[in-house]
Symmetry: D2
């Protein structure tokens, strides 16, 4: 393949090193847009077991060959070279640094102190100036964190901050994840909920302006906070910055055919934002459900046991209908060997735990409660 | 439930203790048969993640309420209380002692020295005497191992030997396992292949008289060897002892509906052996494939990458047809990002690895080669 | 031993259950004090590998046989039955839930909303009434969390909250931990620094009134906040509540002789507080160093490699002196195979990482910076 | 450093690749000897946590700068790039493939069928011809295994076979390991016991001609078997091939000063064999104990608990003297909280388990029984 055909460049970013000295590297693919349309950053596989995003990036690269690329697009598969290769038994250790237990997607950086100097100095400046200045401030700040820290950075911060440095250069950020065993769903900032309907994803979580360490938050919260700070001073700013975490389904799976479907869903959104042209992507007609993050509930197992998961994903489950039945063979004959688990309110099951074996307190299901149509 | 209704008794067997002093226990369910029909030992979940056998034992217990139980039946779910509860990330550490790496199903005991004294002393004795004497010798030997060892036993040996002591008391042994992501299949001693057709399982592995540490081998190899040793002396013995490892499908899953189907498959075999009566179990009509253990091949991944598994289980796959395609996003643009993997001979894929992420050399598929109809 | 001899009672607390149904239990030892002196709660081994506190509790129980016990004392070894028994390879998984990665000592509960109602209602009440009412509020709140939660609790919360319920009943809380490879040190609330000198521990960390999920914080922060809230209203309250995390040295080790030394150190403090009498414990004369928590610095490895730890614990290390040298054999011959690591300010090394093998970004040392004599 | 100064060359050997495509590499250092003296192969760190051998190779390289190198010397640190970098919690997963549980040092190759054709064809040939032909046969065989295997190799085999290919080219093989918490000791083939006295190591295990998968066995067993096969035909061959596993002490530690001591011990042996000259290495005077491998006993813990290891390494421990005492706080008050563990025969403790926390059946100590002076 001639990469020049469609302006694709590839770099290898060095993000750390292991005990043996082995370099930790991440491939970075970049398209230079043909106009000054919005720019996009897409990464996949920050959690080790959540591999399907790599296949989506593969299909995006294949599709982009035949499309007109107007804005810069950066694509980063295998974003976390530690997590990606970390096996415990047959499975990939998914969610956290094996040494510290810290979730790989809770290590991004946020610095609320960047905002007030900008507001004070640029209160009446043109929006484009404010945007340029604040973007540079974000980039300078993350660079400072990376390069000037006497006591150093954790392994995960070093990886996350370098990815974040790429992400801060874009207007649109898509972080491709999966659940354990899961339906597709979308994390979307509350202010961007109109955009959710351009993805072919039936379930959307609306998230508030609260930084909890994730990449989507690390890239939209600063802009949201900046807008609010200007609003407090009476200045209404419109800064078109959107970040999403796209949950592609279940972990530990690669399916290139499904990946093509999801690549087209993403391209539908990107076409809507004017980043690409030359395709004819139309969002699917479907009922789209949403709930606020505070109503996205984890249901923890009330008992240890082995679980036969019953509730189908994505459809409202009436109150009292079983989520699961839990087998407890140790109780056979002199206790209850089979327990049906239900909730006393209607919910939409979105994902469940990856294994049949659960302890008391293991997160069994995550569900939309108090959901509504988007 | 009134357990007395169908003569079920329950014991809790103590098989070890953890660092905190927590007792490791295993529940043991027993039916006393109404006649001197053959006796049966069934266990499940020796590998931590292979939980579906517990659900099959649940359904067996439910079914047996309405059947006539002629031979003694012992059922042991949760056979390995260490493996059963051992989590690494979300998954259950499946196959080996987390401290030593030794496969939990390679720790059973075999003592070839028991055979020649029996042959010498009982060359012309009635078969029933030989059977009783050798059974007692096996029980005495395993008891000796458990109780009189100055340097002690490993954690896994202590568990395995206690289970083996129960198993040696039975004529028929069923060890319920699963593969990682797998079709159903049966490990069957070569001499018992007629019996394989009474299970509703399409694929049978015929295994030789070679002890490699597993429970089925530990319980049939001694009898096979005894028979051969008598044959060498010109005495033809018919000792009706059968042991099977029943692979129920994929690990990390409980499905009580499928478990009922598999319970009935086992009852079909037990009815054939005269252990139960009062049901009308008839084996399903199906094409049953078999191959010899030496022709059951593990195919190791020729490269690292992320795997889209393509080959369907259970059907002959022509030479050259792809088993899988492996994604290598690091090669996109300047190498081959997608590799199709095939074999140059016809095989039947039986199971594949549990994760999409594989290293070079990870066991990708296990396949029947040189298979035949049973 | 006749437990009645010294009023010791023992209970077994049920804190959860595993997939097999195995009960998670914690032993609880209690002395009823002979007077209304302050009461004490001591626990050990919340982190799985930090076992030495169990030996200290053993020696405390042995010592208490010959002492006069004035206040109630509750002692809980093996506080975390999941962590305690969780092996990965030869070592005990120390610090976090193997499924979620959450640090076992970051799951305690704090509810700042309990404070203002008390302040409003009891502004002029006697201190003893306020103490009683607030203690009951803390107990009611944690009980409510345990018993009335429709979506349930995590495995770790269920364990932590039950321990916290015991701890809230005491005036003094000691949580026994260890570092990885570590000197002894003490986490002490800033207001209680006088008490630090009654322990035979050379290094003290002074911690602020900020709840970060640990047991010591969960038990002293509410009282500190209450005092501050009253102070804001002009009422000066003296509530003698103290909580410490006692770091006993290195993990993965039991040494009963050293445990006796540390038990006597704790008894020295308890005698000072009037909880026990009949001994003649005098704190050792030693230079005690302290620093504020904000000055307790983790130093992350600037490179991957294999570490020869050089700096001695507990003594000021001059600026520029090496903490460690890092071997990088992959660089031998064409790079630097040996790197000396130092800081450009004076620090006191307190602990280092448990393994020679580190990634770039692994926490290499923790050090007191800006330390002072207590 | 000018590598040319002392004829050192460095290569990077590619031994596999991970899921992300990351290459697994091993550095290989080689000296070309100035004469046709015996050649040497030294590797370290096949087990991930056993890192001290890398430091010994560092010190060997430093020492060799000032010595006369007569035979070819190949040195391979970081021999296992998977194990080397594999963390579970803070520790390095030591001994086995995390996916399969197979011990990394049980994957080498042995092919007994190579021997009889050589014996038949070269019965009367000069010893040097036999040596050359058999060496080539070993190399061809391992190359065949690596390159021509339709179903592939496991990850560990691919690494092991490539190392073995280097090792088969040498006359002397040293595989540098450590125990968990351990004294220094040496695995030495029975026929080479004279050589053991040239190492400064007090304890030697004499191992028989039985292949169990380790590198030392993989490189000496074929030659031993060949010699025996010739002896059976009446031809007495003297083939000076020696392989040792050198156990350097405890895992998870780098100590460059101790490494220098051990490098000099190895150089003492190499000087004795004529591989180097120009130094004045003299073996230390010490009592050297030995025992046969069959008398090297693992003692498994008779109970779960937390262990205070008492027995000193390396000295005969009289029968009845305690190896350890085991704390069981769950039994305090109503059982025995402290158990002393001893053996009823004299032994020399060599190593003990790496953690205080043990299950019933965990390998507590390894000891020489029926030992003797070398």
């Amino acid at each position: 393949m001639n990469m020049a055909d469609y302006q694709l460049t590839k770099d290898v970013m060095h993000v750390g090193e292991m005990a043996s000295g082995a370099k930790l590297t991440v491939p970075v693919y970049r398209f230079k847009g043909k106009s000054n349309a919005q720019s996009v950053y897409i990464q996949a596989n920050m959690h080790g077991a959540e591999v399907q995003g790599n296949a989506v990036i593969y299909q995006l690269l294949e599709q982009l060959r035949d499309l007109k690329i107007l804005g810069d697009i950066t694509l980063v598969p295998y974003a976390n070279p530690v997590g990606c290769n970390h096996k415990n038994g047959e499975y990939t250790l998914g969610r956290f640094d094996p040494i510290t237990g810290v979730n790989w997607n809770r290590m991004y950086h946020n610095n609320p102190e960047l905002i007030s100097p900008i507001v004070e100095q640029y209160l009446d400046a043109p929006a484009s100036d404010i945007e340029a200045v604040f973007k540079q401030a974000l980039l300078d700040d993350i660079t400072e964190q990376l390069d000037h820290n006497i006591f150093g950075l954790t392994t995960g911060q070093r990886i996350a901050y370098q990815l974040q440095k790429l992400a801060h250069q874009a207007d649109i950020v898509l972080d491709l994840h999966t659940g354990p065993i899961s339906s597709k769903h979308l994390y979307c900032p509350e202010y961007a909920k109109e955009s959710a309907s351009f993805f072919n994803i039936e379930h959307t979580l609306l998230i508030p302006n609260e930084f909890d360490g994730a990449l989507d938050e690390a890239t939209f919260c600063p802009w949201w906070s900046l807008t609010e700070a200007f609003a407090d001073k009476g200045r209404k700013l419109l800064l078109d910055k959107e970040s999403f975490t796209v949950e592609l389904g279940s972990q530990e799976q690669i399916d290139l055919d499904v990946a093509l479907v999801d690549a087209k869903s993403i391209l539908t959104y990107l076409q809507h934002k004017g980043v690409i042209a030359g395709g004819d992507f139309v969002p699917d007609v479907m009922t789209r459900y949403a709930c606020y993050l505070a109503d996205y509930k984890a249901f923890y197992s009330p008992m240890g046991g082995m679980v036969d998961y019953l509730a189908a994903f994505g459809k409202p489950l009436p109150a009292g209908e079983p989520l699961a039945r839990i087998l407890r063979m140790d109780n056979y004959g002199d206790g209850d060997a089979l327990h049906y688990i239900s909730l006393d309110k209607e919910v939409i099951p979105i994902l469940h735990f990856a294994s049949a074996s659960v302890n008391q307190g293991t997160e069994l299901y995550k569900v939309f409660s108090d959901f509504f149509e988007l």
